[in-house]
C-alpha cells in the first residue's frame, strides 16, 4: 500500500524528443506528488509537484499529468536536452497527516545530442 511504482527503469531519448516517466500508487490517502531530479554525485532537487485537485501542472518544459481514478501520475519533459540527463524519482506523501515521502525506484534518463 505504501509503495510507489515507477517505469521505465531507464530511458534513452534523442535531443528535442519527449521523455515520459510513469508512476503508480495504491494508497488513496496520498495527497502530494513531487518529482525529484538527481545528477550524479548530487542530492535530489525538487523539480515539480502536484496535488490531486488538479489533473495537470506545467512548469517550463516539465509537465505532470495526474489521473486520480487510475492512481497514476507521469512526468513529461518536452524538447528534451542533454542537460536533462539525470535520474528522476517520483514520490508521494500524505501532507495533511505529515507522513514522510515514499520514493519510487527511479528512472535514469539519457538524452542523446
Amino acid at each position: 500500500q505504501q509503495q510507489v511504482k515507477q517505469s521505465p527503469q531507464s530511458l534513452i531519448v534523442q535531443k528535442g524528443g519527449i521523455s515520459i516517466i510513469n508512476c503508480a500508487y495504491e494508497n488513496t490517502a496520498f495527497d502530494y506528488f513531487p518529482w525529484y531530479q538527481q545528477f550524479p554525485g548530487k542530492g535530489p532537487a525538487l523539480l515539480i509537484a502536484i496535488r490531486p485537485d488538479v489533473s495537470e501542472k506545467k512548469e517550463g518544459r516539465f509537465t505532470i499529468s495526474f489521473n486520480k481514478s487510475a492512481k497514476q501520475f507521469s512526468l513529461h519533459i518536452m524538447d528534451s536536452q542533454p542537460g536533462d540527463s539525470a535520474t528522476y524519482f517520483c514520490a508521494a506523501s500524505i501532507e495533511n497527516y505529515g507522513q514522510n515521502f515514499v520514493f519510487g525506484p527511479g528512472t535514469r534518463l539519457s538524452v542523446l545530442p
Binding site: 548530487k42 535530489p44 506523501s93 500524505i94 501532507e95 505529515g98 527511479g106 535514469r108
Partner: protein
Amino acid sequence: DAMVIQNPRYQVTQFGKPVTLSCSQTLNHNVMYWYQQKSSQAPKLLFHYYDKDFNNEADTPDNFQSRRPNTSFCFLDIRSPGLGDAAMYLCATSRGRGVGYTFGSGTRLTVV
C-alpha cells in the same frame, strides 16, 4: 542563499571505526532527515527529527544514530561501519513532514 550543507563531501573510514557525518541548514526548517542511498536505488529514510523529537524508521540498524543539538545542525553517527554501509548519505530538511524537501549534496562514504 538558504541551503542544506553536508560535510564532508567524501569520507573514507575503516571497517569498524566510528564515523560522524554532519549537516547544517540555513532554512530554519523544523524537520531534518537522514537518507541512505546506494547505487542506482531510491533514497531510503533512516530517521528524522521533528524539532527535537527523534523518529527512527523500524528497519534502521542500531549501528546508526543521530543527534540534533540545535535547529541548524544534525549529525549521523555510524558506530561500527561495515562494508555494506558504503553509500551516499543525504540530509534533507522541510518545514513540515511530507512536503517541500530540500536535500543537501550528500556525503559519499567509503568503508575500507
